[in-house]
Symmetry: C2
Subunit: 200 residues, 2 copies
Amino acid sequence: MTIENRRSVAGAAVLRGDITTALRRALLEELAANGYGRLSIEAVARRAGVAKTAVYRRWNAKLDMVLEVVTEVAGRKLSLPDTGSLRGDLRLVLQILAEALRHPLASQIIPDLLAETGRDPDIAAALDRARRTVQDEVGVRLINRAIERGELPADTDADLAVDLVVGPLYWRLAIARLPLTPDDLSKLADATLAALSAET
Amino acid sequence: MTIENRRSVAGAAVLRGDITTALRRALLEELAANGYGRLSIEAVARRAGVAKTAVYRRWNAKLDMVLEVVTEVAGRKLSLPDTGSLRGDLRLVLQILAEALRHPLASQIIPDLLAETGRDPDIAAALDRARRTVQDEVGVRLINRAIERGELPADTDADLAVDLVVGPLYWRLAIARLPLTPDDLSKLADATLAALSAET
């Protein structure tokens, strides 16, 4: 396929009404590149190759665009199959979280938005919904399964369990930004298993 | 002391050459209120009650100011007395970290700067120094003491140990922003002790 052909395919996609998709992608790229504070509707429109009016037909302000993207991510359920044991489930959820935390959304955009939560209650609420999705998935599903299997006591503190599962990985990948080998992940799963068994 | 008197004391402090201190404080307040992206030298000078030229006599750009503040925080050593046991040391370091993480510097400014690290290698380096201070204090000092006491094996992975100690607390206070009771802190210390003992 020649460059000219590819251009016309992209053009056709935009003409077919994929402007919203193009704008969403442009928003994520702009957020990662320049941050929420410097984000402008003009830059998003330019990156998507559309007029500024195309943005304002869809969203009232940049905050509306950002909240929609965050809420969409919050809505996506973490897929967490039952491996039959708490250790297996832990290993799997740590792997899934490690993938998610290596995405630019975690390392670039989430810190931007976290910084905004103190300034904007709407951003705080949207991020809180996203966080609660992780909290429910890890806390309720993973811990409840372990309780049903008799691997953890029934009065296990689900909030604390989430801190123990998500915290070390988040610190390692999103804050310290140190590498994490498959061997590290195994050690982390063992350590987390011991922590969960000890917390009550 | 009347308001007039207090004003004249503050005025005298500025006259005595405390402009740098006033500017540093103003910078922290501006960062917390508006974020790095929207931070302007003008606003910092206005908040400190000095002319813009006073800023430019001290720093070349807003980045220089911010890096100095971060580096200064990195330089401050966490005070961590030896309690005689790993459990005691853990409980104490978790308490100290919990205090630090409730400070606006952690909840507002650090997320801003983390978001900038992908865009600016100087910010990345300054934050990395700050992070390594925590890493050394927790990893090297706390873990080495426990190894010397025979509470942990000599080949304990110090990086992973820091993830296990700092991560859950960071997630709880800086990301999830849920309350943490003294009882939670106790449970967390027990869980972390079990995790550290299991990780090797």
